[in-house]
Amino acid sequence: MNRVNIFFAVFCFIVLFFNSIAGAERMDFKTFKLQNGAKIKYLYRDNIPIVYVSVLIPASPLDEAKPSIAYLTARLLTHGTKTRTATQIEDEIDFLAISIDKKVTHDYTILTLSTTKRHLKEALNLFFDILINPVFPEEEIKKEVSRVEKSLKQMEQDPSFIAHKTFLKELFGQHPYGRAVEGEPEGLKNITRQDILNFYNKYYSPNNMIFSVVGYIDENELKNLIENPITMWHGNTITRNINPPLFVKRNEPLKIFIKRDDLTQSTIVLGFEGISRKDTDFYALSIMNYILGGGGLTSRLAKQVREERGLAYSIYSTFYPYLFPGAFYIEVKTKNENTQNVIKLIMEELKKMKEKAVTSEEMKEAKAFLSGSFPLRIDTMKKISEFLPVIDFYGLGDDYINKYSEYIEKVTMEDIKKVARRILNTDSYIVVVVGKD
């Protein structure tokens, strides 16, 4: 009943291809700081008897001694604790009909528990057990490593995955931003239980964790069921020793072609160095990207390539503002014979964006969209639960949700031009094509 998603993907056809949505709602959440350093963001909502609890752990591939460790550590939390076997945990999750999602990004790890109010106590008991007492059994590590290896090898058949992987590797070199969070199949064999234990012991400490609790749970329950177990958990003080990527200076574009005879379409990824989340150009780049290729079917790239020429179903641009600068890129898939034509069209649009100012209409629409659609980004309790810790992690301020529109409004036409010139690297971009010829 909840597994229909994979079938949805196959049986359902969506006309647009929306990559990123980005305005304001008054949301009166509370922030509690605990003695051990942990923080809890709390929002009471009683319209449905469900509760979400998220925890953001500042641990990611940036902290890894070997690739895949951050990912495996998070995945394996539910594979055995001091008092529960992997099988018992799986039984309990399914029987209580709860879920524990684990997401590892390039900057942090976030876990989210979803539970009905009826099963809240049992669910929290399990959630804190997997967070505080995991034992990472050898046997379970072996199984998980084998599963990840197989999945990675399968992903490596996917032209989009190959194109992204190659592009990121060239852009970031050996830096962790240059590889998938899952790691690489070749490296998995070298991982030991000790690696995972070391990672867990070093980084899974309550001191730096940011929790959020959203839903049908009052402040008393919050204190007893959530605050207490966190307070009783003693951890180390952690300082992350993380390094920014070093970008290679190039004098000309780097063009890479990967041949795959079985494909009818070429997958093209074209991009360059982007910005960090703290960069003052973040809002200007958000608007510029919307106009260029982030705005669904209305973007310049979609107009040129899809709407006016029918050369692609999906084309978009996006950027990843991490703790350190991430990538900015464009991805498109087109019939093999149209590859060069599409690259030419993309380059024309990039140059145009650098040379000419955007129109005031484009600017107005982009701002209206970004501000106006902000509430849609947090239109469920689950989304709020996962959003609040992230705001804190990147230091955006507790008033971020209310101030976002203001930040967007301040951007000027001149800011757009400036950021386009700074980011859109038409001289030494990297382009990867995966296709037949």
């Binding site: 056809f13 009909a97 795959r260």
Partner: protein
């Protein structure tokens, strides 16, 4: 006894678990409007559902429903040109649409204060779509690219398409929603026009407006724009049937892939046939979650598979398929995997599932119903799927009935449908 007590409590409390107020009315021209008031977030969704999908497509015109969906974004009388999404986005909204085998849905997500935009655009394209030849030819090209991206270059989708193609010999569910390339290429603008006039009319559609709305306000706006759209006859629909299957069917697809995939599909009935509810519970027991029988056996115990999932499609306009999909680790083991799946099915046929398994399934039904209401948009979709079957009000009975499913019911449907003569197998193998 504890389980029994729990079940009783469930049956008593479950029907009252809708947490937003739902109202409906039928306008003079036959168009039904469903209002879902939910003030938890300052957002709204406006959805127009047309009861038309691949199931309705004439021979040689597969993909016409989806192609029309694309053309619906290319302008109408009062909003000519490629402006729909631009208008919605400039109001801070998001719009999109999707076509399935049974229906087509157009939607916006936006601020409740901007609902007039949805009403203006959707009413105009329901009544006055423009059919520009140049746009039509462009959308064909775009759909062919979409087909390449989603099917021709994606072996996992292609194997599903092939399984559908042989599982049904006559029923339109054998056709892919996106259509076959040859059909897409030969559909004419005239075909699309006729299709639009036949199916896109008030009697064959309904509206769902949900979220932080005031029914009295939005109702007047909807009536003003939609009620004067000319009424139409309910389109006549062919009686569909699928001739009896003789023997197991099999398709083997060789493509560049690392993980072989095994797809097993049994033909099953749709709701309101009660068997569909028992099959929903059976799906939970067999393949949903890591404690499910197949996951445990194939991923944990034998480690022959990377993933297993099952899916029943109870909410279909006609009987469809119960899927078991396994990502197999090693190509040499695909037959062994199939044998194990069949053994697990035999086990259920011979011995009814345990009380714990039934209770687990009920807990999951309860939870998925509650979680589906976390999203205004998701909740509206859930309601719409029932309306497609006849009435959204069926949802209460559905929930009550599914909570009453017994172990014997589950065993009964396993025996009835999971048979050699009702099975289609697809194997995706590396080239």
């Amino acid at each position: 006894m504890k389980h029994l007590v729990l079940s009783l409590i469930f049956i008593l409390i479950f029907p009252f678990m809708g947490f937003s107020e739902i109202k409906e009315e039928v306008l003079d021209n036959g168009l039904k409007v469903i209002y879902i008031e939910d003030h938890s977030s300052p957002v709204a969704t406006f959805q127009v559902w047309y009861k038309v999908g691949a199931i309705d497509e004439p021979e040689g015109k597969s993909g016409i429903s989806h192609l029309l969906e694309h053309l619906m974004f290319r302008g109408s009388k009062n909003y000519p040109g490629n402006v729909f999404s631009k208008i919605v986005q400039s109001q801070g909204g998001i719009d999109n649409a999707f076509t399935t085998k049974d229906y087509t849905v157009y939607f916006q997500k936006l601020s409740p204060s901007k609902l007039q935009t949805s009403i203006d655009l959707e009413s105009d394209r329901m009544a006055n779509l423009l059919f520009n030849l140049e746009d039509f030819e462009l959308e064909k090209k775009i759909v062919l690219e979409e087909r390449r991206q989603r099917y021709e270059d994606d072996p996992e989708s292609l194997i599903i398409e092939e399984v559908l193609g042989i599982a049904f010999k006559q029923h339109p569910y054998r056709k892919p929603v996106i259509g076959w390339s040859e059909d897409i290429q030969t559909i004419t603008l005239n075909d699309i026009k006729n299709y639009y006039h036949k199916y896109y009319c008030p009697h064959n559609a309904f509206i769902i407006v949900a979220g932080d709305i005031k029914v009295t306000e939005v109702r007047e706006k909807i009536k003003e724009k939609f009620e004067n759209i000319s009424s139409c006859d309910v389109p006549s629909r062919k009686i569909l049937y699928e001739p009896k299957q003789y023997g197991e069917k099999r398709v083997i697809l060789k493509r560049q892939t690392h993980l072989p995939m095994l797809v097993m599909a049994y033909k099953v009935p749709a709701y309101p046939n009660r068997d569909s509810l028992y099959l929903e519970v059976l799906s939970t027991i067999l393949g949903e979650g890591k404690s499910s029988r197949l996951y445990r056996k194939l991923v944990n115990e034998t480690a022959l598979a990377v993933d297993v999932s099952t899916g029943n499609s109870a909410l279909s306009r006609d009987g469809f398929l119960f899927f078991i999909v396994v990502s197999v680790k090693d190509v040499g083991k695909i037959n062994e995997v199939e044998k194990i799946v069949k053994e697990e099915i035999e086990k259920i046929k011979n011995e009814a599932p345990s009380d714990i398994e039934i209770e687990k399934a009920r807990n999951q039904v309860e939870a998925s119903f509650l979680f589906s209401q976390d999203s205004v948009f998701g909740h509206a979709l859930y309601i719409g799927k029932f309306e497609i079957l006849g009435s959204w009000k069926m949802i209460d009975r559905y929930r009550e009935d599914i909570m009453k499913v017994t172990a014997d019911d589950v065993q009964k449907v396993a025996k009835k449908y999971f048979n050699f003569d009702n099975l289609t197998v697809g194997e995706l193998l590396p080239k």
